[in-house]
Amino acid sequence: MSSTNASLSEAERALYGSRADVLIPGAEGMPSATQAGTHTSLIDDALAARPDLVADFKASLALGSVEDPAAAIAELHAKQPVLFDAFSVLTSGAYLMSPDVKQIIGYPGQEERPVTGDDVGDYIGLLENVAARGPVYRPTVVS
């Protein structure tokens, strides 16, 4: 029976981290999944946000080789697409919640940035071109 309890044992957490690093290795100047803390608090936050995926996530951990995370991921991808999708969405979602990762990719999150000015002056010249080309609608036919 699959579990809907989102808490991970230490063994599950370690196993998860090794597999998460297969999907998201340290490369291209970016930290790996475990370097970003995906296997610690971030995956807990991701699971709390998506309780609907907990059972499939836990089921994904129960499959494949414990010793060979790359082989386990390949098997999951090839044979269990639903479980793979749960695992990979949670992993990328958790990774991209990391403040360090956001900083490196230049994404501040969905930030508050109230409007401080009007930019109409920046494009009014272009709009004058639009207006000069004339109407683009067909008027009502009056019978």
Partner: protein, 544 residues
Amino acid sequence: MTPEETKDSAKADVLIVGAGPSSAFAAVELSKAGFDVVVLEQGDWTRRTEFAGATKEWELKAQKDWHPNPNRRGRPADYPIDTTDSDVNPLMFNGVGGSSILYAAHWVRMLPSDFQVRTMDGIADDWPITYEELAPYYGRTEVAMGVSGLAGDPAYPDEAPYPNPPMPLNKIGHKAALGMDKLGWHWWPGPQAISARPYRHMQACVRRGTCLTGCPEGAKGSVDITHWTDAIANGTRLVTGARVREITTNSQGLATGAAYVDRAGVERHQAADVVILCANGIGTPRLLLLSKSAAHPDGLGNSSGLVGRNLMMHPYAAASGVYDEPLESWLGPSGHAIQTFEFYETKQERGFVRGAKWQVMPSGGPLGLRAGYSDSALDDVWGENFHKRIRKVTGHTFEWGITAEDLPDPDNRVVIDPTLTDSDGIPSPKIVYKSSENTRKLMDFNLARAVEAHEASGASEIHVTPLMRDCGWHIMGTARMGVDPTTSVIDKWNRSHDVPNLYVFDASSFVTCGSANPTATITALSLRAVEHLIAERRNQETPR
């Protein structure tokens, strides 16, 4: 009083089913005019604090809790919809505010030709009203919703001033506008029910960009904010958790109210002199088809056989451009930065009729609506390529979305599913919907032009999505308006041809659908119809 009726459900002057935009506009006007109004809504209120936009989990929650597809979201208020015979999934929200809770607030008028498709293009049907008849009501909806925009768009015959100045185009809008200028194509800042300054019950937009999953600031013009508090202050009784199973009728063939199930599972009845359906283009025909009786064997108001037919859902395609320079493309509102009507009208040489409206919208965060990519090769999407892709597209991408006109086809329809039910055991709707050859040609043409638009703007990569399955935001046409009772369900005042005290105010009434976002038209029609109802109150036939 029948056994199901309680003191709370004392007979109302007007009963409205559903609490979305068409209902909200009607309820304010009716209650202001002194009518006793009861509204039955199957969902509940959504508190601002429930929206996830200001949390780090936003993108994960957007894929489930706030997904617009009710089959995927699966909240208690949602009813399942059988979509196995449909090219497109219908999208909606069930709760106070209706789909305005999750919509992008594009507040766009239809164009004059949209009301005369038969006259101008020789296909489909004309509406029984013209653009000019609806224009004053459009103007009033724009004021009610605090629409921000810029007057003077040459896509329209009139220069309607908006109550708020346009929102900034942001970098994505500027980039797109430069491309359109280079090509000599129409574009204009997108009018939207979102404002940079506080307006009536609406807060100032902070450009968080999470409009499609609910606005945590209360800045988006959803009708739970803009209308319902006023309607309730006027005396409207809004009953949440009330799932209507049937419109009841008497021996004279008049509507007498609605039977519904409350959240405790108790069957109740709300009596009323007049019933207005505002349950959207699927919920309304579902209810009419479920309301069979000896006098109405094919469903209520269905002597034409057209209830549920001519379903239109605005097929949607997209061309996504990736740009080398940073565009901050997560920045809201979302909303639309700019729109174009360049390819809206019929041009014979294109080989299809009618057209599309395009809009530029932000692309959100890095996760987006990213699936697990189980259908892609591992190395293509994961490993080093995961990092390359994220860094290349995040903040560097925007989409030209293409909203295509859908022609009415009686074979595209809402029917009652023979086996599927909602959580109260009420039969669910099934939709049958296929894209036409005209739509495919229209989409191919517009996508090719959208690629050119990105090229003109300097995109380094362009990706095309021909038809999105999760795109059925606009559900229209399933109880169409018309003059002839044999070819339409309601008259030009949104009243049933068959049942003189039954009205349909939602987008089921649309004869054709243009390709403009429909909420402005839905609410303008609602205002127009309810004012007529109020003016004619002394002549309104009611059950004795």
